[in-house]
């Protein structure tokens, strides 16, 4: 009895599967010419190792645009002293700090030179200071 039931079920499945397959084959025959053309073009491009032009806004372009906007805003803030507030550093101050930092090795060298200090106490240095 159970075998008969199982056979009925299998038969039912076969009929159902066949009906679905027929629907599917019908759908394959009715793919629109425009889609077939694009499929063929895509296949030829793929065989040549090329990709077709991207549609819409790719994610990379969106992130690139966001990065450009953030960069522009940052640049604008740096070049507009009025937007920096009291605590913000002026461009001139930044340059001075940068120059002072670049002179640091020279200052250190003078600090360590005893002849420099001897010259400071000489009359030449006093004359130069008066000029």
């Amino acid at each position: 009895m159970s075998t008969l039931h199982s056979d009925d079920t299998l038969h039912s499945h076969d009929n159902f599967d066949r009906a679905m397959r027929d629907q599917y084959r019908d759908a394959l025959q009715h793919v629109s010419p425009a889609t077939r053309t694009r499929l063929a073009a895509n296949r030829h491009a793929a065989m040549r190792g090329e990709s077709m032009p991207a549609r819409g806004w790719p994610l990379g372009a969106v992130f690139g645009g966001l990065a450009a906007v953030v960069f522009a805003i940052t640049l604008g803030l740096n070049f507009n002293p009025g937007l920096n507030g009291e605590g913000g550093a002026r461009p001139g101050a930044v340059v001075a700090v940068a120059v002072a930092a670049s002179d640091l090795p020279l200052v250190t060298a003078l600090d360590q030179d005893p002849e420099f200090y001897a010259w400071l106490t000489s009359s030449d240095a006093q004359l130069m200071a008066m000029e």
């Binding site: 039912s12 499945h13 009929n15 159902f16 599967d17 009906a19 679905m20 397959r21 027929d22 629907q23 599917y24 084959r25 019908d26 759908a27 394959l28 025959q29 009715h30 793919v31 629109s32 010419p33 889609t35 077939r36 694009r38 499929l39 063929a40 895509n42 296949r43 491009a45 793929a46 065989m47 190792g49 990709s51 077709m52 549609r55 819409g56 806004w57 994610l59 969106v62």
Partner: protein
């Protein structure tokens, strides 16, 4: 109902294609329908198929008998990637027009209205539309198992290879898919 079996509609019994180009030419529309049912968008489906075709180039030296499960496996991955990207765009980029409607966006089924009998064409489109809606409502693994095993007529081993799971899992997914579809499509039982 048009049941003419063109070269692209009898995959299981066809001899292996001589070249990769011929293989891709034969599988193109079937791949499109598979991607269309997973992505519900004509353009996304075409992109996924093209990506899969490009990736197949890396396997052109493999025996032609391996191309079929390989291709379906690659296409499955591309469809999943597209679905994930769509979910990401929906979540993080609400201003992106292409993602605004997310999964709710559904293109109408691609269907050529050029038959000699408009009424028959309309009936065919409506019937496949019901079937496609029922198929799309299935969980992804069940949809894949039914599409590959029943519609594409892959054997269980190739279906398992394409889906990246065991043959037992294929049978389980297929059984559940068939039961769910039969409940939704009483007319075809």
């Amino acid at each position: 109902m048009n049941v003419d079996a063109g070269p692209e509609s009898v995959p299981r019994f066809a001899a292996p294609a001589a070249t990769l180009d011929a293989f891709l030419a034969g599988i193109g529309t079937r791949a499109f329908r598979f991607a269309e049912s997973g992505l519900r968008s004509r353009d996304d489906a075409l992109d996924a198929v093209q990506d899969a075709m490009m990736k197949m180039l890396a396997y052109r030296e493999r025996p032609a008998t391996e191309w079929t499960p390989l291709f379906w496996s690659i296409l499955r991955s591309r469809i999943i990637d597209t679905q994930r990207r769509r979910t990401f765009r929906l979540r993080w980029l609400p201003f992106d027009g292409s993602a605004r409607n997310g999964d709710d966006r559904e293109d109408p089924i691609d269907w050529a209205d050029d038959g000699p009998d408009p009424a028959r064409t309309h009936d065919g489109r409506e019937a496949y539309g019901k079937f496609a809606v029922a198929l799309q409502s299935l969980p992804r693994r069940q949809r894949e198992a039914f599409s590959l095993r029943v519609l594409e007529e892959l054997d269980v081993a190739d279906t398992a290879r394409a889906m990246g799971c065991s043959e037992g899992s294929v049978k389980t997914h297929l059984s559940r898919a068939r039961n769910a579809l039969q409940k939704q499509l009483e007319d075809w039982r």
